[in-house]
């Protein structure tokens, strides 16, 4: 049984159809890339998957549970973690508090399994080399550091499915490598990742499968190698070849 099944998902906002009959599934332990031009509905799809937008039609299942009408907070408790495009951290809080607030929001049973919460906070910041800034406000970090903090915080919160929205946007090449390593670590732990990216080499390197979204529809779905040379992908990104 797939971990995530999305079936005939549609969304209409202000009389405009943003998602059209989107159907796909993601297996446990898979890393799936979601690509497509700007405005194709990638982030909107993530917003629907994490419960911030209610689909007009269709259903979402996490394992065998129908989560289509479940609230975002409840989805997080069921194991869906989200990394936002514009650094989803709390800038007025210290780095320590940013991690702490994520761990404290976990269901009680899960929190108990973590052991000493202070050690987990320290371990999380150590993992991305930010422990020396533990007491600083998160707003004082660089974009790359904010991204690492957000990813590390989400990874440590024991989720099953990770929705990463452009995790390398605004991040230096060195940190992009770090992000790739963190995702590889997740894969090794058997976690499932759905990732939006514009960086095709990065996607090819880390993903098992890539889906291409265009005008709210899944137009391609396959292995990175197959997708990379597909004519349709070239058309979506660069337009149709007039000489063809």
């Amino acid at each position: 049984m797939p971990l995530l099944s999305v079936s005939h998902l549609s969304l209409t906002l202000n009389a405009q159809q943003i998602l059209k009959n989107v159907t796909f599934s993601v297996d446990q332990g898979e890393v799936v890339g979601l690509i497509g031009p700007n405005g194709s509905g990638k982030t909107t799809l993530f917003n629907v998957l994490s419960g911030f937008l209610k689909p007009t039609d269709g259903s979402i299942h996490l394992r065998d549970a129908d989560i289509t009408s479940v609230s975002p907070a409840q989805r997080a408790k069921l194991g869906i973690g989200r990394v936002f495009q514009n650094f989803g951290i709390f800038r007025e809080m210290t780095l320590e508090e940013n991690v702490l607030v994520a761990l404290e929001a976990l269901p009680k049973e899960q929190r108990m399994l973590l052991g000493n919460i202070k050690d987990v906070v320290k371990g999380t910041l150590d993992m991305v080399g930010l422990s020396q800034h533990a007491k600083k406000k998160a707003g004082s970090l660089s974009g790359g550091q904010m991204r690492l903090l957000e990813i590390a915080r989400t990874l440590k919160s024991g989720k099953e499915l990770f929705l990463l929205d452009e995790p390398t946007a605004g991040v230096s090449p060195k940190m992009t490598k770090q992000v790739a390593e963190l995702i590889a670590e997740l894969k090794k732990e058997g976690k499932t990742v759905l990732i939006i990216e514009h960086d095709l080499p990065f996607i090819s390197q880390i993903c098992d499968r890539v889906m291409v979204l265009d005008l709210g529809e899944v137009v391609l779905n396959g292995k990175p190698k197959e997708i990379k040379h597909d004519k349709k992908l070239q058309e979506i990104y660069f337009g149709a070849d007039p000489t063809a």
């Binding site: 997080a76 989803g88 709390f90 508090e97 607030v101």
Partner: protein, 292 residues
């Protein structure tokens, strides 16, 4: 004038009582408006409902044993209503509606004369047996305010405090972590409601009177000013700001100025303080709109 500026005796006792009573309500309201950054302008409506609930019952039955639960129930009921509204309305809509709620409750109090005596208020409020003297009442209220202050400090540093702050900063990011907004808002509004109840319980015994003029809009403005000046969400800052601003408000009486001039002068001064505090905290007063 010097003896007035350096409070002693009964005047010092009065300052201590008023500061402690105000602090309880303001610290409770600070959890909603300061920490949660919820645009709630109805704390005086909760105050009105719980104050009149308590003392109308007391006037009719003569029993604090009945009056106190009724006062608490009124505070809880109105807090539940505000929680429900806050979960269903956009912040600006909530702000306007809570002002309207304040006016509605005030209008009911002013016009339901057979029960509330309208604009005449409820005079001759008897004190609890162990609060007969001003010293006893002041000691009790200082004790309660101190305990309340430490409770609020604990709340600020607790999981709930952090989660409320996270929600205030970015609702979607907080929800994506699994933070439960309805539960946190309920807790915040209940704390605010209980704070209002405690303040009323002591304040009207202190004055021997419940009067509608104690529940007018300028009281809310004064509370907002205390919170903004003290740093919204900071228990320590708001407690200090309560002490300083009440001291300033009361000490202005010592100036050799006619009462007819002093009132407007005080309002103008408070307006300037609020303006300066908002300007100073303009970047952190309310969460910035951030895209996802």
């Amino acid at each position: 004038m010097l003896s007035c500026l350096l409070p002693t005796g009964n005047y010092a006792l009065h300052l201590l009582a008023i500061t402690s009573m105000t602090m309880v309500h303001v610290l409770g309201y600070n959890v909603i408006f300061g920490k949660g950054k919820i645009l709630h302008f109805g704390p005086i409506a909760v105050s009105l409902a719980s104050g009149y609930g308590t003392f109308v019952t007391l006037t009719w039955t003569g029993s604090y044993l009945l009056a106190v639960p009724i006062g608490i129930a009124m505070a809880v009921l109105l807090s539940l209503l505000f929680t429900w509204l806050s979960l269903r309305l956009e912040p600006d809509g909530l702000g306007i509606l809570t002002i309207a709620m304040h006016q509605i409750v005030l209008t009911v109090v002013l016009n339901w004369t057979p029960v509330t005596r309208g604009a005449l208020g409820l005079p001759q409020i008897p004190r609890m047996p162990w609060l007969q003297s001003n010293v006893a009442l002041t000691s009790a209220v200082v004790l309660v305010a101190t305990a309340w202050f430490f409770l609020m400090l604990l709340f600020e540093r607790s999981t709930y405090g952090r989660q409320l702050q996270a929600l205030a900063e970015h609702e979607w990011y907080a929800k994506a972590l699994g933070i439960n907004r309805p539960r946190l808002y309920l807790i915040a509004f209940l704390i605010g409601g209980i704070g209002a109840f405690i303040t009323n319980l002591f304040y009207h015994q202190y004055l021997y009177l419940v009067h509608p003029s104690d529940f007018l809009f300028p009281v809310l403005i004064f509370y907002v000013m205390i919170i903004v000046a003290g740093k919204p969400g900071s228990t320590m800052g708001v407690a200090l700001s309560t002490i300083l601003l009440i001291f300033l408000r009361e000490e202005l009486r010592c100036l050799p100025i006619a009462a007819s001039v002093l009132g407007p002068l005080r309002m103008m001064l408070f307006g300037i303080i609020l303006l300066a505090a908002v300007w100073y905290r303009r970047d952190s007063l309310f969460p910035k709109k951030r895209t996802i």
